[in-house]
Homo-oligomer: 254 residues x 2
């Protein structure tokens, strides 16, 4: 494998009882996954764990060596249930310190706001020793980067700001390209075709994603490859096959 073929990988730890209780629908998995795709980095695994020291430490330590990058979301706010910084510091074996630049950012942000920089708010300047900051234009409180570990907010709009600040700063490989073809097709009717087309195009993977909508069965077929020509050829072969079988299909998916 040449350097240019190197596949860069990432994992995500979503920290939050609110996701595990079913109360909040997570939006950060899809948001971070899509962003990583554009950076040429593949999200390979996600773990959702509760607001529990041991659970966070275990997940961080299991994943940070296994993948090129690790992201966490949630638990970096000012309240008592925000323990991500402490847990990641413990996982990394470093103490928690106040980051002077983070303190300065928060001092500036809260200068003219009611209450000023309280002890609770100053918690948001705490980082595992040796960390850098990830700017966040929205609320002042920065994200945190320590080696390959990136601590992001739980609120998706704030995480979006932090991802924006990180764009282009992480080394990645060739982005995984994808094309979708969809139709009101039962996937069981085209299972053989999908298997054969994938087998004939070694550099491509085909995923089949069935759905029920408006009382009808359909499926989207997603073809993925890092090679644009291979991808186009695979899509053509699949569309030809679907056409020969008499199916209507829609490039781009339905």
């Amino acid at each position: 494998m040449s350097t240019s073929d190197r596949i860069w990988t990432a994992a995500l730890v979503v920290i939050g009882d609110e996701i595990l209780s079913g109360r909040t629908h997570d939006k950060n998995i899809a948001q971070i996954a899509s962003w990583l795709q554009v950076q040429g980095i593949r999200l390979k695994e996600v773990r959702v764990v509760s607001d529990d020291m041991d659970a966070i430490v275990a997940a961080v330590n299991a994943l940070r060596h296994q993948y090129d990058y690790l992201f966490t979301t949630g638990g970096i706010g000012p309240t008592h249930d925000d323990i991500t910084v402490d847990a990641v510091a413990q996982a990394l074996g470093v103490p928690v310190v106040i980051h002077p630049e983070a303190r300065a950012i928060l001092e500036e942000y809260y200068r003219d706001r009611p209450g000023g920089l309280t002890d609770a708010r100053l918690r948001m300047a705490r980082v595992p020793q040796g960390a850098d900051l990830i700017p966040n234009r929205m609320s002042g409180a920065p994200g945190i980067k320590h080696g390959n570990v990136h601590l992001m907010a739980g609120v998706p709009t704030i995480t979006a700001q932090m991802l924006d600040a990180l764009t282009g700063t992480l080394e990645g490989g060739a982005p995984l390209l994808s094309e979708t073809v969809g139709g009101w097709i039962k996937e069981s009717e085209v299972a053989d075709l999908l298997r054969e087309v994938e087998k004939a195009h070694a550099d491509c993977q085909i995923g089949s994603y069935p759905f029920f909508r408006e009382g009808q069965t359909g499926a989207n077929f997603v073809i993925r490859s890092t090679d644009a020509d291979a991808l186009a050829s695979c899509v053509d072969t699949l569309c030809e096959g679907l056409g020969e079988m008499g199916f209507d299909f829609t490039p781009g998916g339905i």
Copy 2:
């Protein structure tokens, strides 16, 4: 701890490249989490892994001993990328067999449908040896239960049918009750209050979930307990405290 205080736990493995690519927003985590709450079972961990044999086997084996129940979603359909049954069988150390009842269900379902019961469709009757079926009224193809491991569909509406069939069949404990209080309140302004109220109510946990909406900052505070009286008392104390600090708040959350 008396038997009635026993806490029952579950984990979920979401199988699907479509979630890890960011293409599909997962709905099964919240759906299964909410359903488990009602059964008196706590969802403690979720792992999202790719459509990869080794990744599924590793996740299933890491979690099935650690928690009372394990659920998987995705990868039990008729196409080549549906490898969950094979992976779970490998994790359990049993062969894959055709389940006679599943075959009968599929024969009946496809009797009058175009194409009939093809080899691809018969794949959906494959189970790890020793498994029972979880009925699915929607599409015929059943879910699968083997010991404490439950294989559910990837399509959320089908998983909903399977959960319905499982309702009341799993032993659980006292359901975790929760109340929410929300307001256009910056959580950093009430961080001390939240910590003190939680400390004063040992049987309750308070989670703080900030959000940005319509250009404004707010937060919902979720109080959880298995004890209804303790919960009510904790909510009262929190509301009293918020009132004393001059905050408007909404029972039920905003």
